[in-house]
């Protein structure tokens, strides 16, 4: 199969993820969408690695996975503590930093 098709899929996944981040209010869903975008990038990296015939893309994909794992830990912790404090997981409720 033509590796370019993987790129199309990656773009599609990324767009779905981005739209979810921008549109959804639930913090958990937003978080999942961020993960979706990260994995879309991973897919693109692997596809590029295949297209160019070297391993750089795969290595970066590994890095991304590690970073994503770390991010999940910190992010979920923040969401849980926000939910505990405000009894809501809506991102719009947490708007205290505006002027």
């Amino acid at each position: 199969m033509n590796p370019v098709n993987y790129l199309y899929l990656a773009a599609l996944l990324f767009t779905i993820g981005a739209a979810g981040v921008l549109i959804r209010r639930n913090a958990i869903v937003v978080f999942m969408c961020v993960e979706l975008m990260l994995n879309a990038c991973n897919l693109a990296f692997v596809a590029f690695s295949r297209m160019h015939g070297n391993l750089d893309g795969q290595i970066i994909a590994f890095f991304t996975m590690v970073v994503a794992a770390a991010e999940v830990v910190v992010g979920l912790a923040i969401i849980v503590s926000v939910f505990r404090a405000r009894h809501s997981a809506s991102v719009d409720d947490a708007s205290l930093m505006k002027l």
Partner: protein, 631 residues
Amino acid sequence: MENLIALLVGAPLLGAAVLLCGGRRLDKVGHWVGTLLAAASFAIGLALFADMLGKSADDRALHQRLYTWIPVEGFQADIAFQLDQLSMTFVLLISGVGTLIHVYSIGYMEHDERRRRFFGYLNLFVAAMLLLVLADNYLLLYFGWEGVGLASYLLIGFWQHKPSAATAAKKAFLVNRVGDMGLSIAIMIMFTTFGTFTFGPVLAATGEASEGTLTAIGLMLLLAACGKSAQVPLQSWLGDAMEGPTPVSALIHAATMVTAGVYLIVRSADIFNAAPDAQTVVVVVGAVTLLFGAIVGCAKDDIKKALAGSTMSQIGYMILAAGLGPIGYVFAIMHLVTHGFFKAGLFLGAGSVMHGMNDEVDMRRYGGLRKYMPVTFVTFGLGYLAIIGFPGLSGFFSKDMIIEAAFAKGGTQGWILGSVTLLGAAITAYYMTRVMLMTFFGEKRWQADAEGHEPHPHESPKSMTIPMILLAFGSVFAGGIFGVGDRFVHWLEPVTGYAHGHPPISAAAVTSATVAVMVIGVGLAYLQYGRRPVPVVAPRGSLLTRAARRDLLQDDFNHAVFVRGGTHLTRSLVYVDHSLVDGVVNGTAASVGGLSGRLRKLQNGYARSYAVSMFGGTAVLIAATLLMRAV
């Protein structure tokens, strides 16, 4: 001898400094200090005069250079004096009449608590006026010119608590400043044309300058002269200046300061000789003012304002003569000197009358004063005869010469000028006879004032009558001394130049005409004011009379155009400054503030909207990068 020149100015200047800074300690002796220093100046002047007479006519000018006043690249202004016959004439007039008026003021100002300061100002005036006539360059002359303006301002407004006096002082200074503008522009033109403004080099080089330049300088000098000498169109301040104490009117606004314009023109003779157009304007200004002043003088009931109109008119004669060129310069100065005597005498007489009449100035409330004030009557009378040109008295000689010179101008111009001067002589005789009759003849017309004080006319003290008597001597004999044998002509000729004018009709005919019109003027006034009783309340009068009472509406014109227009202009500019100039800047500030207010709304605290902007920003950046690559 030339080292004494600075002392002429220095003595009264010292007096002014001592009296004005000395404080109350000097209240008791201040007037003596002032008088003594003015007299010292006169004495030095006499010594220099005697010395000058001993030399040959062409070798009489003295110079004294003190130091460089303003040393700047290409610009040298010196504090330096020049004493020639012309300056000498003025020095003797200023310090002589000045000293007499100091003496007079001792009595006149006796009850004024600020007498010391009055003498300080008088000394300041004498010093500045002497500086004006002794300067050897135009810039130093300008120094004296403004100095006398300041002294005049201070003295007109001496009774500052009267709003009218304060206003009159301000008006005099402002109108004079308009003239001063002319003088400073004249100096600027001289500097750019000749590279100097010292009398000697400038006047010597007039031959090389273009006529246009000289005309410009001449007209600017004339503007200056108009301001200082109260000539049309800058004459409006002189009548109001009579708010000052009477000795001031006598010294500054009759005998000396107001003649400075004549001095300026005669001093700049070479410039005017080479600029016939400027001369024509000078003559016209003189002729217009001489009639203007005379008409105003006929209508005023205030004795000082009537005399002020007369002063204006007489200076008009001098300016006219000065505009005639070499045939007139000498006579302008001669009339100036004789006028200095008789007009100062007349003003001092008026002051003496006011002194005895509780400061009443309305002539309609005088009448029959000759019995009460014999000395004043006689001296005033002699001054009166002198000014109307009674044969043999000083005014006769000087005025007759001017009328002759006016006819001698030649052509139609000569006839017009001659007729104007003759007409002026008739009107002079008329208004002066009117003053004389209303004041000293007829029935007494004074009444008790609102508080019940009835004036008790009495003769003034000796300190006042002696100066009047001395000035009366001058009024009687000065003309004869100067006129007989052309002594004055020979005296001034080396400085001003002289050309004998030949009138189209014989000199004797001119003289007879002068005497005839004088008699007519006197006769008319007698018919109107001598034969009939003078009404205490002024009759409504003809249109001309009413206009003349209001200074021929000149003040109304000034008020409507300059005062009212100026007020509107400044008010609207204040508004513009506040709302427009400041407004533009404030508006910029406000719009920056408004814009930032809008931008602030973007920071709404919603993480998603920040994410949108980040996303949008990234998308734009990527799109731009791709586009750039594509191009």
